[in-house]
């Protein structure tokens, strides 16, 4: 028991370094807040224009869609864990070997940091939530279960995205290029996550494709719980699905890492 608590304590401290680093760069914080506000504004105006001539689209009202879009926008940062850039850095600076020698699991250490950074980012966007509530009439559910399912699916979704990105990051061992890889992934993720359009408004075949990607688990699922697109009665089944995804991707990502790390070529010197 003591050993387990010590272990968790280590991961907690490792994770907290991200929160501290994040808050140290206030210029980036304000720039990010501004950019998110821009994105929120564009989306609200766009979707309001879309609904100008109809009361509902595929059974969804304008308020439901706006609700969802605002929430999805605030969660859109969750499609990127930063692990791809991290691998690029480690490789360029020749620090990979050192990291692998530490007495803390390399993958779980990075997962702890990623989760903390996501959490910190969400908290630091409280201005955005206030803006959405006050100026754009964001409506939140009255059922406490919706919030519970939201939080649980949020954490599980982030974990799923992290493991998936870990697999993509392993490609860096072969190409040594990480910026392009990340942009490539971002482009795909931003659409399939449901950050730009609710999955419920997509054609059936496209919704199926999006549902088979991990990114919708971090944005669409939590946002749909909080916006009411997914009823709370679906909660248990959805969460079970997320758990299975998380376990499966964890095993697969560790397998791929074990294979690919052998191809690493340390740069510079």
């Amino acid at each position: 028991m003591t050993a387990v608590l010590n272990k968790l304590g280590v991961y907690w401290e490792v994770g907290m370094t991200q929160a501290k680093a994040r808050m140290a760069y206030s210029a980036w914080f304000w720039a990010s807040l501004f950019v998110q506000t821009v994105g929120l504004l564009v989306m609200v105006y766009f979707w309001s224009a879309v609904y100008e001539n109809q009361d509902s689209i595929k059974g969804q009202s304008v308020q439901q869609t706006l609700n969802y879009i605002m929430l999805a926008r605030m969660l859109s940062g969750l499609t990127g864990s930063g692990i791809i850039q991290r691998f690029g850095q480690l490789l360029n600076r020749g620090e990979l070997a050192i990291e692998l020698l530490r007495p803390v699991d390399f993958q779980f250490q990075n997962l702890a940091q990623a989760l903390n950074r996501w959490f910190t980012d969400l908290l630091m966007r409280w201005q955005l939530w206030v803006m959405a509530l006050v100026f754009f009439h964001l409506q939140l559910p009255s059922d406490p279960l919706a919030y519970l399912y939201f939080l649980i699916s949020l954490v599980l979704g982030c974990i799923i995205v992290f493991f998936f990105e870990w697999m993509i990051a392993c490609i860096v061992f072969v190409t040594t290029e990480s910026w392009g890889l990340n942009v490539l992934k971002e482009g795909v993720a931003s659409f399939l996550s449901g950050a730009l359009i609710p999955l419920t408004l997509m054609p059936d075949w496209l919704r199926t494709v999006a549902n088979f990607t991990p990114f919708s688990k971090a944005v669409y699922v939590p946002a749909s719980f909080l916006s009411g697109l997914t009823p709370v009665s679906d909660g248990p089944r959805m969460l079970l699905e997320l758990v299975l995804w998380a376990v499966g991707l964890c095993l697969l990502s560790r397998f791929i890492f074990a294979k690919m790390v052998k191809h690493a070529t340390i740069q510079g010197g």
């Binding site: 224009a49 879309v50 595929k58 392009g180 408004l201 496209l206």
Partner: protein, 262 residues
């Protein structure tokens, strides 16, 4: 002037050679921004499948605006990308001094020092959208329209350049103005859609203050035969104004520059 032109192409050739040293990276970089655009286009396509027009604009008309904006953006991305690195890669590190001891305009040198292949993806998308949407809309590509479009795209890229020049030059005062530069740059997202879907105040901002719309929305309206009057021709003037202001800020910043101690 001739020597600057030749110097530019010599530097460009060297840059591209160094890029091709790593062909896989060059390819990934070129295709990566392409993927970024796919997301935005898929959104438009899915939405327009459910409604006939957006404030009177059809899908093909929306693609025309989108294509013009992305084309302008891509030229700036390919040829003026080094502005993004002025603060953190040159001023902060003291490397900027290298430019000041050479008998070449430092701004020219900074820009000529980098060709960004990532912008190729955006260029392909922008050009493809322009060709596709204009064909679908039966816009005749006579000499007048071709020259007009070229003028607007070049003006648009200079608008991007001018705005970036202003925000990056702030690095002379704050060492690294990248957050400001990024924040201002991202507002171009507004210009992906017809300005008429926004509140009037947003219209004014993106027509006169951060005039990304002046080189996409208004030219698109003009090509479609919409009556936008003289606004159809404001892009070159706004571009010139922004570049002049940007260069003024650059020179002011340069005059107070002191190298980072080392």
């Amino acid at each position: 002037m001739t020597s600057y032109t030749r110097m530019y192409f010599d530097l460009l050739a060297q840059n591209i050679k160094t890029k091709l040293e790593y062909r896989v990276n060059f390819f990934i970089g070129g295709i990566s921004t392409l993927a970024g655009q796919v997301a935005g286009l898929l959104t438009l396509w899915v939405v327009m499948e459910t409604i006939p027009t957006l404030k009177g604009w059809t899908l093909n008309q929306l693609l025309l605006i989108y294509g013009l904006l992305v084309l302008s953006k891509s030229l700036n991305h390919m040829f003026a990308d080094n502005l993004w690195r002025l603060g953190w890669a040159y001023i902060r590190t003291g490397d900027f001094d290298r430019y000041l001891v050479r008998p070449v305009n430092p701004l020219f040198h900074l820009i000529a020092d980098r060709f960004c292949e990532d912008g190729i993806g955006n260029f392909v998308v922008g050009l493809g959208l322009l060709i596709y949407s204009s064909a679908a809309l039966d816009i005749p590509w006579n000499l007048v329209n071709v020259l007009y479009t070229l003028l607007m795209v070049l003006s648009g890229s200079l608008v991007f350049f001018g705005i970036n020049l202003i925000t990056s030059s702030l690095s002379f005062w704050m060492t690294d103005s990248l957050p400001v530069m990024w924040g201002v740059f991202e507002t171009h997202e507004f210009a992906k859609y017809p300005l008429k879907i926004y509140h009037n105040s947003v219209n004014v901002i993106f027509t006169w203050i951060l005039p990304f719309g002046i080189a996409s929305y208004y030219p698109a309206s003009h090509l479609l035969g919409h009556p936008v009057g003289w606004l159809a021709w404001m892009a070159p003037l706004m571009a010139l104004l922004l570049v002049l202001v940007g260069y003024g800020v650059w020179k002011a910043g340069l005059s107070r520059y002191t190298g980072a101690g080392s």
